[in-house]
């Protein structure tokens, strides 16, 4: 059996030209790399088993203050936010979905192809949660400390905490499902390994799959050069997926204008000023009454 560390090493291997690639699919040798990562995921029945395999191989799981990697800055996820897997072609998703979930996906695709897309997270700026936040546009930020790493995403005000202080997951009796679930992890050198569970399943995003509360994820994060952070992500879901869904997410450093105006800000909610979108009767999206014109105001009811 191929030594796990060698397999895991694929995640850290940076081929010539990879740093210039904007998405994983643009990197040299990517199809072969991706297939190896898919096969790695398929060796394990659960994300937890994959995570534990990485953990067994780790040489030193603690991170001293002087070892904290510099992930400062703001980071732009590469590829369209509408594509969790940047290898996706059109509406052909790369996840192998089980029957009920495949039907839900096919319904979304059929509606999208008819020009009907309603995003239920639009209305009030709700979080995508995990794993959808990984593919969000707008700035991402990583606050790394020895005991916790916070992954912040401006779009949808996402906040995800990764505990690396040696704790386990929330005990089952105390656990409950949330958008981002419960994430623990450990560092091996400059590489962060994580495991996530107890999400509320939900939806990856617009014209993308629904997943179940059985969703688990294992990720391998590393800053591969000064301009690039990448994550290899395996999503397991015994209810929704036929096999683990592997993707590589790439984040590039966002450059500042003079005066450093770029910050990660509070995004928005439906009580903030903006023009509100609503679903149409046939399942599409439109704006509610615009606030800059009275031309589209509803007709007043006739008095009787």
């Amino acid at each position: 059996m191929l030594h796990l560390r060698l397999i895991a090493g694929i995640a850290m291997w940076v081929p010539a030209g990879a740093a210039l690639a904007q998405t994983a699919s643009e990197a040299p040798g990517w199809p072969e790399q991706k297939q190896a990562m898919i096969e790695l995921g398929k060796r394990y029945a659960t994300a937890w088993e994959l995570y534990q395999s990485f953990e067994r191989e780790a040489e030193d799981k603690t991170l001293e203050p002087d070892e904290v990697p510099d992930w400062s800055g703001l980071w732009d996820r590469q590829g369209a936010p509408g594509r969790y897997d940047t290898d996706r072609v059109g509406n052909q998703i790369t996840a192998r979905l089980k029957v009920g979930y495949l039907e839900m996906m096919q319904e979304q695709v059929a509606n999208a192809e008819e020009g009907r897309i309603w995003d239920p997270h639009s209305g009030c700026g709700q979080a995508r949660g995990y794993p959808g936040m990984l593919k969000n546009g707008r700035p991402h930020e990583f606050a790394v400390t020895p005991h916790q790493t916070w992954h912040l995403g401006q779009a949808r005000n996402e906040v995800r905490r990764i505990y690396t202080d040696g704790r386990g997951h929330v005990p089952e009796d105390w656990a409950y499902e949330t958008e981002h679930g419960d994430t623990i992890g450990f560092w091996d050198g400059d590489t962060l390994y994580t495991h996530t569970m107890y999400t509320n399943g939900g939806w990856v995003g617009r014209v993308q799959p629904y997943l179940s509360t059985k969703l688990e994820g294992t990720e391998v994060w590393r800053k591969i050069d000064d301009e690039t952070i990448q994550a290899d992500v395996w999503i397991y879901d015994a209810e929704a997926l036929e096999e683990p869904w592997y993707t590589r997410q790439i984040y590039k450093r966002m450059h500042q204008e003079e005066g450093s105006p770029l910050r990660l800000e509070y995004w928005w909610n439906c009580h903030s000023p903006n023009n509100i979108v609503v679903p149409t009767e046939d399942g599409g999206t439109t704006f509610l009454d615009f606030d800059f014109t009275d031309m589209d105001d509803p007709e007043p009811a006739e008095e009787h």
Binding site: P81, Q154, E257, P261, N274, T285, F287
Partner: protein, 129 residues
């Protein structure tokens, strides 16, 4: 005012530079390819999340004015395209190219703006960085 009064716009069926909007909501309420090119005066530039809105008084051929709203992504994307809040002050004379709403309401998603001094603003084209 009747919606028919805004029918005096110059319609340009050009290959659209703008892909689907993706930050906050689906962009399927806008025409997928058809664009309009309109001239007017900036009333307000709302440089906000999740979408910026440029409110412009558009002059119709019959001498009347229609207030239009033009959506774009939020400030980070505008910054990336080099578009500052001060680029579009109230009173600025501009020509906007946008994909209009399918339902005919006076709004669209703008792709380019040309100010009367000839400056081209395109929030989808990253500035030098």
């Amino acid at each position: 005012m009747n919606l028919a009064r805004i029918g005096t716009v110059t319609v340009a069926v050009l290959a659209c530079h703008a892909g689907p909007i993706s930050a906050h909501h689906s962009g399927e309420m806008f025409e997928p390819e058809r664009t309009v090119t309109l001239s007017g005066t900036v009333q307000e530039f709302r440089y906000i999340n999740p979408h910026s809105w440029l409110i412009v008084d558009i002059e119709n051929e019959d001498g009347s004015t229609t207030t239009w709203g033009f959506e774009a992504e939020g400030p980070q994307d505008l910054m990336h395209g080099g578009v500052r809040k001060s680029d579009l002050p109230p009173g600025a004379r501009i020509t906007v190219t946008a994909r209009p709403m399918k339902d005919g309401r006076p709004a669209g998603i703008w792709s380019t703006i040309v100010r009367d001094d000839g400056t081209l603003l395109n929030w989808r084209t990253p500035g030098p960085d």
